[in-house]
Symmetry: C2
Subunit: 242 residues, 2 copies
Amino acid sequence: MFRESHARSVAKAVSWRILGSLTTAALVLLVTRKLVLSLAVGGAEFVAKIGLFWLHERVWDRVGFGKRQVEPAVIWLTGLYGSGKSTIADRLAERLEKRGLRVERLDGDTVRDLFPDTGFTRPEREEHIRRVGFLASKLEQNGVFVVASFISPYQASRDFVRGLCRSFLEVHVNTPLEECERRDRKGLYARARRGEIPHFTGISDPYEPPSRPELAIDTRETSPEAAVEQMLGYLRRSQPGL
Amino acid sequence: MFRESHARSVAKAVSWRILGSLTTAALVLLVTRKLVLSLAVGGAEFVAKIGLFWLHERVWDRVGFGKRQVEPAVIWLTGLYGSGKSTIADRLAERLEKRGLRVERLDGDTVRDLFPDTGFTRPEREEHIRRVGFLASKLEQNGVFVVASFISPYQASRDFVRGLCRSFLEVHVNTPLEECERRDRKGLYARARRGEIPHFTGISDPYEPPSRPELAIDTRETSPEAAVEQMLGYLRRSQPGL
């Protein structure tokens, strides 16, 4: 909940007063054609109303009417390791933040850093994604945009998250496996192929592509900027002002 | 993020205009002693400035200065089953909501309903509480008060949560075991004593009381209302306006 500080109310009173008293003086001059009189009325008004305006602001600060909440959404990027999810998600989060919106950026790597015991078996991954989805939905319910990038390979857990959220935008970053492998500087795919990393999505663990994602983005053809524009375009369908 | 609707800006313009133009007319009357003239200036001003005020409001809506965020907190109630955590937590959440604050109420039972596979062994409980704490901290970071009631029997996981949060208020609802058992209508304690429920805190599983809770409440002596007052009093130490 935003409250207005006293300094803000005073600043608004002053800026309004300059506008207002100039108008008053001009009006009095127009009606009476007397410059001194018009300046006297304008000057008296300037002093009298600055306090009155401040009081008026303080009263309205207590009134909730018309304080509009922007409806947030959960933007969920799913795709293989190295598909480009995090890059796109970072840019989108930046853009939303620049618009003065509350944004939480959730990333598979950073969340797992906090919960190092979370494994990569199917039940562990499903539970992990459901938990993250619950977090996302609670943030959304409280007015926060969530930009989440998780491999999230299973349809069932993504659908569970969708069910929890009000406005869920599933974005499939569907860069093909070959391209993801080509980009992989850490050599994780190579290690997975040698059998050194078990449960590696795309190699030793399945990836279930979304059946009906709101958006699908192939990063071979679409730049991060263009991908962000696509996502913003989708969000603007329900919120033109975004 | 709150934005002001156009209706709010118009309503403020009208309410201010009535105040303002009456003052202007009075001032002109005072200076000129001419009633008709003063009404003419007041009337002209009324029309001219209503649009100007609206414009002024729209410009200020884009300015962030002085839009103050109330600093939220995580209020964490820990204690035995039947100690009275949920009742107190519900009342506190209601009180905070009435003050126009964003509040999320998290309760052990309702969260476990969503994650039915979560067990009651020590590692499972620890992980569960850490996950819930992560959720609480993210909500807090985004301006939401969190009122959480969980048995949360282990010091380590409560400390983990404390470490994640900015403003953490650990409330030990320390109603003694005998009293909790006496109140237990579902007969869970009796079943636990017969060995029918494993890992039951206080009977077959330990409860580690907080070493330095911000507050300790014994519900034999303290009513839920008084408990809420104690918690609000604590929160007001850092935020007198609450």
